[in-house]
Assembly symmetry: D2
Homo-oligomer: 342 residues x 4
């Protein structure tokens, strides 16, 4: 950490900071500038946090220098991780492969889920997605089938031979979701629901952690750290768009997050172009962009009948667009140095 | 709702929309423009949502016209509400009064909490705040004392004669928090934790609902609707800053939210200048601005020893600044047409 | 400045930074941490900028510590400045007074301008605003009357006895605007039009510098520095809302900018609630908030017939709302320690 | 346009809107809903704007339905345009090809510019970029060589056989820049400098129009409309990142803007990954993403000695990264259905 003193800080102010730092076993290096003094701190950063240096007289600012996350950081774990999803069929998500996850936004009926799963598989998907619990902005919107939805999803996954990922929105549902699903998804609205993060950290299944729609990348990695801290390092990060002033898309896909995360963390990162854009005409170009930027996978909404979908119909792919996407997934990853999923 | 057809929409496309709308008992009014056709829908908006009109051929856009919230809307409830907090002492928050809530960010010890409560009361506060459960970005930061903190807060409130408000972050803690506190706070990170909203909607205590740091005002009112829908209309909204590109403050206090919310909803709205700014030198000017803009109250961090605070020390008031704030709370509300809290 | 080395930086990397810094006459203080080394730089910051330290091997980051602006900074000029506007009538804007500027968004006709000026004056305004050059998003919108508008504004100001401020949008118009107006306004879209800033810096008249709608406060002060650097320190800053994700208001008034700017710069700062909100029902509460937050003035749109205004009619005040505003301007500044404008 | 009446609007309020619309030759279709009335307007949209319908009693909101730009819209010009740059060598930018523009951020010396141009050409670039006028946030930063820089750029372009593009920042420089350059660039800070847009609209050379760092796509297309309206339709749009809350990158590259613009306008759109990210390690992945998303070209900073660059050194490519980029430009466009530049 670096402590920046105010221009009018006195020698006593500087001495007080040094004394504090040394009181918790740290070292303080004082650099006296023309207009300001700065103090470099060496030692245990957690103990420095408790000093509340920012409240001391004469202190103008305190800069943190090193990453606040440890377990998910690439600093001490330079090799990028591969996460395996599923029990009978095991599907990798990681630096060697490119993984395609697809399925309906919400599980509505067994028929609709099976039809969507078959579309997804035919298009090359190797993991099936589908929501049984839907966090909706309006209390009057369809909230998902709950446990009945989990059962449909599980049976459908088994029928078509794909592992399944589904969202958990309530800490009380973690056990039942972990029982039915191969991977637990934390949605964008729950990225900072720390109790839920800790619960999935103990659930024994890999976690798909979506970025909060207004979270910085650092906060997102801190959320992953919450999961990791409970013993679960099987985490896949998912960029799904951030909130900006641009109204043409539902959110702005932060494509730079892919290489930024890969430089900062050893965890895999995938992209959700469907929820980012909220428009199905953008799903194919954004999926191509994600592959080209080096994403470890994509997750896409498909639906056999978007016009009757209970959730996010306008962004679900089918027909020609899905074929175009399948083609991109088959050919583009190799061009940027990946094998497809075996 | 209004459906805007694409410039190249055919007569069949228009007919299909009309037919769909009529199939659920609605009426469709077609206006044929020079370059586009628009269709006004009259009837039950929920049934229209299920039509997924946006997925139909020839449809360019669908605009919602009326508010998506009902119970908290001022449209059918023009008189602004007053919420009462506390059992022995009952404190109002509403259009007639100006209410001052204050206390430590986190309950750390009985001594610190009592000292902060006495400071708060001396400054004119009539409701005591204090956190027993702290949602922290880092899993390595102080997470609060939990039930022990609730007990300290309750005893302190009783000792100084102030009702208490405290945050609940986990749906499993709602009962124990409701048992100890007079008002339940939903923090900014949980504004879209819909399970938690529904749980506090049934807890039988008033709720202080902070705005999500990146929520629109409409989403915030939808979150209040989640609580109201479970039978609890004793909700106070709290503006606490939104995330923008400006780094000089932790968040940007959206002072316009005060009159905007008061025009849209009958619920009271207060302002948290401490968490918005994250800098104690801004708390007094922002508190004054909140009073002048017509806020129904403010909630402010105070701490007897900010330099040893386990949470948000840099923004806690004491000494001269707190006296200045007390002065503003005593004098300014009358100038803008309010009585102080009796 | 502080240079943060990467975790894998070598001793040679550190030595190279030190050598570079010393090559331009600076001093480098090395602090070796457990996982990283940081280097504090002392000397002329401009010369350090040219070193491009960020491009050197082993350098992870470079933090600037001191303010990048000098002439407008409060650091070397602790007393807040008062700017005087007008020649016959001289009106102050500064820390002692509260100044009310009002007038029509655009000068349309002599009659409309006079009517608006009389409304403004009756409500207590002491400086008349009015646009002769209007920067409009659409090339098909009304662009202002140009020189004819300047003449109307000048004559109207003289007739009612108020100094006038008007916007200049093109570097070629600076001379003619300076000839007619008592104060030159730089609008939000031109805050980073550096050629225009330099031109008004030499025009010999005070400048009203609006914040870019997406500028940080630091960038805004740098824009003021451009003007100051050409010899003109008669600058008044104007906060007018920033672009965020919130759609309920045209922009989000950053009320915190008032105390933040006053802490960082000696220049006066006023608030434009009309353009921030874009809704006339918010002008009175936001004006009150601005006064209470310590703004040195406000600038408000008034129009005798908003329904026929050629520009921004929906935000112009008249009638009851203007009387309410006049009342706030008369009474509220004293409550927060100001005299009104004499 | 659609006028939404307030819930408490009277029959007279509705009649007044209808009467106004008809007074300018429009038609008004009234749809009476359960809680609100909406009125669809048919006729000349410009004449409706002058009605200021939003100021009328009983009017809650006015929605625009059709695009506010015409000349650059794809609606009446469905075929995407190709713009040709250069006189002796003519280089296309459009839907059939993928164009690579590269060069130094700033022209510093003849040697540096030549070295950068040779690097650019060797990597496959067919248009040379380089700045002679640099709009800098700080008045103390290097502002460019001006006319001397234009001459160096022109001579370098001729020497290596590449057309040149350079930024113009002041309306008084348009003629001299147009004399030396093959394409005029409008930078992000000047996107809303309407006088400058009109001036380049008459300069007789193609224009590269960067998106304002906080402009919506619609505002960007309106800026293009300003240029087009003066008779110049040879416009290439350039996405260069928008301002968000994410600090890991200088700006957030809005990759979705590529397909969104291509759907809305017939003009070509290219991407600037160097200025978006501000970090050279992101240039290659973002360039790949741009190609894959369907961009018509990219523009990239290269510099023979980034560590001595007078401007934006940290983002300039050289060596291995430039070779990687060259490889992507050679191979990736074909995969997504483009020929390279002939």
């Amino acid at each position: 950490m670096v402590v920046v003193m105010a221009p009018d800080a006195t020698a006593e102010d500087v001495a007080r900071v040094v004394e504090r730092v040394e009181s918790v076993g740290g070292e303080a290096f004082v650099s006296k500038g023309l207009s300001r003094t700065i103090i470099g701190l060496v030692g245990d950063i957690e103990s420095f946090h408790h000093l509340n240096l920012r409240t001391l007289a004469g202190v103008a600012d305190v800069h943190r220098i090193s990453d606040p996350y440890k377990l998910v950081s690439r600093q001490h774990h330079p090799e990028r991780s591969t996460i395996w999803v599923g029990s009978t069929t095991r599907v990798p998500i990681g630096p060697e492969t490119f993984t395609f996850l697809a399925g309906p936004c919400a599980v509505e009926t067994a028929e609709q889920t099976l039809a969507a799963a078959q579309m997804a598989k035919a298009a090359g998907a190797t993991i099936l997605r589908g929501g049984a619990y839907k966090p909706r902005t309006s209390p009057y919107a369809f909230q998902g089938l709950g446990v009945a939805g989990l059962q449909i999803l599980r049976e459908t996954g088994d029928a078509v031979g794909l592992p399944v990922v589904t969202e958990v929105v309530d800490v009380r549902d973690v056990a039942v979701v972990a029982e039915h699903a191969d991977m637990l998804q934390i949605g964008t609205r729950n990225m900072a629901n720390f109790g839920l993060l800790q619960a999935v950290g103990k659930a024994g299944k890999p976690v798909l952690l979506k970025r909060g729609m207004t979270a910085t990348i650092e906060e997102w990695l801190m959320a992953a750290e919450y999961i990791a801290q409970r013993g679960n390092l099987d985490i896949v990060l998912c960029e799904r768009g951030i909130r900006t002033f641009e109204p043409a898309t539902r959110n702005t896909l932060d494509i730079s997050a892919v290489p930024v995360v890969q430089a900062a963390s050893h965890l895999p990162v995938i992209v959700d172009p469907s929820h980012a854009a909220g428009r199905k005409d953008l799903v194919v170009p954004l999926s191509r962009a994600a592959i080209a930027a080096g994403a470890d996978g994509i997750i896409v909404d498909v639906h056999p009948h978007p016009e009757t979908a209970l959730c996010d119909g306008p962004q679900a792919l089918l027909g020609g667009e899905l074929r175009e996407l399948a083609q991109a997934v088959r050919t583009l990853p190799q061009v940027v140095g990946r094998s497809s999923v075996a």
